[in-house]
């Protein structure tokens, strides 16, 4: 009976830790996705400058992780991004192709700047809040064990 109780307690603590770990992994995943978004936007800018491809071909060749062009419509992949990040992504793609090269360059450089800020903020959050979530998860597991005892 004691062993079962011990295993149950350990299970609760591990579950708490896992919940915290999952939450902190989500934060790290967001950083990775923003990094990828930054890289693909940079590639998009370079292709726009040097290849001058039309919008759909440009998106297919350098932006495949975040959107898909299907029958002239754009389907977005927002996984790992917050609503705020998704707004930047959508605004960028919806405005892409409406101006001349100079305007497009300026607009993309501004988007890159915003993405860089988002990424550094996300990085800070991932470091500080990640640890908090893991600790909180473990503590919550311990608390539940104590409460049940």
């Amino acid at each position: 009976m004691g062993i079962i109780k011990l295993c149950g307690m350990a299970g609760l603590i591990i579950t708490g830790w896992l919940v915290g770990f999952k939450k902190s992994a989500d934060l790290r995943f967001r950083v990775q996705r923003l990094k990828k978004l930054y890289e693909e936007t940079e590639e998009l800018l370079h292709r726009l400058q040097y290849e001058g491809l039309e919008r759909d071909r440009l998106l297919l060749s350098s932006f495949s992780d975040f959107c898909l062009v299907w029958n002239g419509k754009i389907l977005f992949n927002e996984s790992g991004l917050t609503a705020e990040d998704a707004v930047i992504l959508k605004e960028m793609i919806q405005k892409l192709g409406t101006g001349n090269l100079e305007t497009e360059e300026k607009r993309l450089l501004y988007v890159l700047e915003r993405l860089r800020q988002q990424e550094s903020a996300a990085q800070k959050i991932a470091v500080t809040n990640g640890k908090i979530y893991q600790t909180l998860g473990t503590c919550a597991g311990i608390m539940i064990c104590i409460f049940l005892l």
Binding site: E54, R55, D56, N100, L101
Partner: protein
């Protein structure tokens, strides 16, 4: 059913306007030469009979009245972006010259405010020209040719490019022809090319004079065809080709026959000896071109 050239253009038109064409009789659709969209004004079609207004129920009339289809500013803007394939930056050079290339050799003329960078902005009108390949329309031109150059002259929208296209198609049965196509109007571009014969090479290049030079050096043509010889540089290219023993087939904007000698470029072109046959188009449907030699002028 064979797709008409108009059907190739309609996907680029705002869907609420394009939808009305579903109700238009097939016969009328086949006759449409131009589709004109103007901001907050009725949608116009240019037919051989003249200008016709398009109505919401798919009917047409020669004067606008209640029920006429109006092109709103939003519809015009959306059509413009569709014509640019939502990539204005990729069509900047074309827009600086006031047009956009479309599949099948069709072309959209663009009007609006010309910005300091030369681009057309705040679009107010779009004119979608429908290009059609009419096989056999150059029979009289080809039967009159004697191996020398051919000048196809006529007023705007008289079918100069259509006759040029068919001339190329027929000449290519026996000769190596290179087409210098600055706007994709002769060949129909790369996406949906029009038939130019089995022995024709197409060089899509904005600078026709440079294109002529490139074709002479690399493709060893027997005939070079180009649309609208209009600048001194292009004239020089034509003369060089003539002196290299290459037959030239070209077109020129001419209102009347006498203007062939009044206009500087055509006068020089005829005097250079590069042209031995002139085909003058009247612009009237079904009327064969008037064929004569420069000496007869």
């Amino acid at each position: 059913m064979k797709e008409d050239a108009l059907d190739a253009v309609l996907p680029f038109v705002h869907q609420s306007i394009g939808r009305v064409f579903l109700f238009l009789p097939e016969e009328t659709k086949r006759e449409v030469c131009e589709l004109r969209l103007r901001r907050n004004l009725p949608v116009c079609l240019t037919l051989p009979q003249g200008i016709r207004y398009l109505f919401k129920d798919g009917t047409i009339d020669d004067r606008p009245r209640e029920g006429v289809l109006i092109c709103t500013a939003e519809q015009l803007e959306e059509t413009f972006f569709l014509l640019c394939k939502r990539s204005v930056y990729a069509h900047a050079e074309e827009l600086r010259e006031g047009y956009l290339s479309l599949p099948n050799g069709c072309r959209a003329g663009v009007c609006g405010r010309v910005a300091p960078d030369g681009m057309v902005r705040d679009i107010t009108s779009l004119n979608l020209r429908i290009a059609r390949a009419v096989e056999g329309c150059a029979d009289s031109v080809v039967s009159a040719e004697d191996g020398g150059g051919i000048l196809i002259a006529g007023p705007p929208s008289s079918g100069k490019t259509t006759v040029l296209r068919d001339t190329v198609r027929q000449l290519s049965k026996n000769k190596r022809v290179v087409v210098i196509d600055s706007r994709g109007e002769i060949s129909g571009g790369t996406e949906r090319p029009l038939s130019l014969g089995v022995n024709t090479d197409v060089l899509l290049i904005r600078n026709k004079a440079k294109g002529t030079e490139m074709a002479l050096r690399t493709m060893f043509p027997q005939t070079i065809a180009l649309d609208e010889t209009g600048t001194a540089e292009e004239l020089k290219g034509v003369e060089e080709s003539f002196h290299a023993g290459v037959q030239i087939v070209t077109t020129a904007h001419i209102g009347e026959k006498r203007e062939l000698l009044e206009r500087k470029i055509t006068r020089h072109l005829l005097a250079s000896g590069a042209i031995s046959t002139v085909a003058l188009l009247s612009g009237k449907i079904g009327e064969p071109p008037e064929i004569f030699s420069p000496e007869e002028l």
